[in-house]
């Protein structure tokens, strides 16, 4: 949404990210998509070559995109195995009770924040 506001003001933007479905749904003007675990959108930690390729792709896309919503998908892979894809926010049946109690805690914390005035106007 910040990118959209900047584009409206005449500033060209590119989002370098890994959650493609969220970025596309939001109507992001230019996306360089790194299909990596969330946390390292520029590239694998300490992989300077991969990170530089991502940056160069982002700078190129700023100029090559012809229309809003242009996506460039980078060929980067996290590993030979694909099992990392299961890890983020995985819900397993054996975690059910733990997740429910986490949710309960979360809801209590939100109420407490409100009571303490910890919220944005």
């Amino acid at each position: 949404m910040t990118a959209r506001t900047l584009e409206d003001a005449g500033i060209s933007t590119v989002v370098l990210g890994s959650a493609l479905d969220i970025l596309e749904k939001a109507g992001t003007p230019r996306i360089v998509f790194n299909d990596l675990p969330l946390g390292n959108p520029v590239g694998k930690p300490f992989d300077r070559a991969m990170q530089m390729r991502s940056i160069e792709a982002a700078l190129r896309l700023l100029y090559s995109a012809e229309v809003g919503g242009t996506v460039e998908t980078l060929p980067h892979r996290w590993s030979q195995q694909e099992d990392w894809r299961r890890n983020f926010l995985e819900v397993r049946p054996e975690h059910q009770a733990q997740l429910l109690s986490l949710g309960e805690e979360n809801r209590k914390q939100r109420l407490e924040n409100k009571r303490l005035g910890l919220f944005r106007p």
Binding site: M1, S12, L38, F46, I55, L59
Partner: protein
């Protein structure tokens, strides 16, 4: 097969007992501006969701702009939602590529970096982003004569 993050987030919070699904930003019309200067004359800024001032409580964190000269060695990512099982954020370049971008300025392919970078919180409330955070960053970018912005959400 790309991960369907919207569905996964929905399933996760339903499993936590939340009754209402989060409503993600959904826009069909996409604003678009072509760069007005060539890359080697353009000024670029960086926008991150990584936290510069973790002492500010998360519920009241709002967009802020900081001098690039005051960039900390590590930004705080503990409270953000990312794949903490698979990876880590010990390498700042993997989410805030200041060295890579500086080298692009040094080799002459990028005009310059703006004096300030910007933090925009990952906000539950789209209203806060649309009416407070994004307009503030826009103003600061205009003050800094920014031509291009690279946004890197964690």
């Amino acid at each position: 097969m790309n991960i369907k993050y919207i569905q996964r987030t929905r399933d996760y919070y339903r499993a936590q007992g939340f009754k209402h699904d989060y409503s993600w930003a959904d826009n069909r019309v996409i604003p678009f501006s072509r760069p007005k200067k060539p890359l080697n004359e353009a000024r670029l800024t960086i926008i991150t969701t990584a936290v510069v001032e973790p002492d500010i409580p998360k519920p009241v964190r709002s967009a802020q702009s900081y001098s690039l000269t005051a960039l900390p060695d590590h930004l705080d990512t503990a409270e953000l939602s990312w794949d903490k099982t698979t990876t880590h954020t010990h390498d700042r370049e993997s989410y805030f590529p200041i060295r890579a971008l500086t080298s692009k300025v040094e080799d002459g392919s990028l005009g310059s970096l703006a004096p300030r970078f910007h933090f925009v919180p990952t906000e539950y409330s789209q209203r806060h982003t649309l009416t407070q955070d994004a307009p503030l960053i826009k103003t600061h970018c205009q003050e800094d004569s920014v031509d291009l912005a690279i946004l890197i959400p964690i």
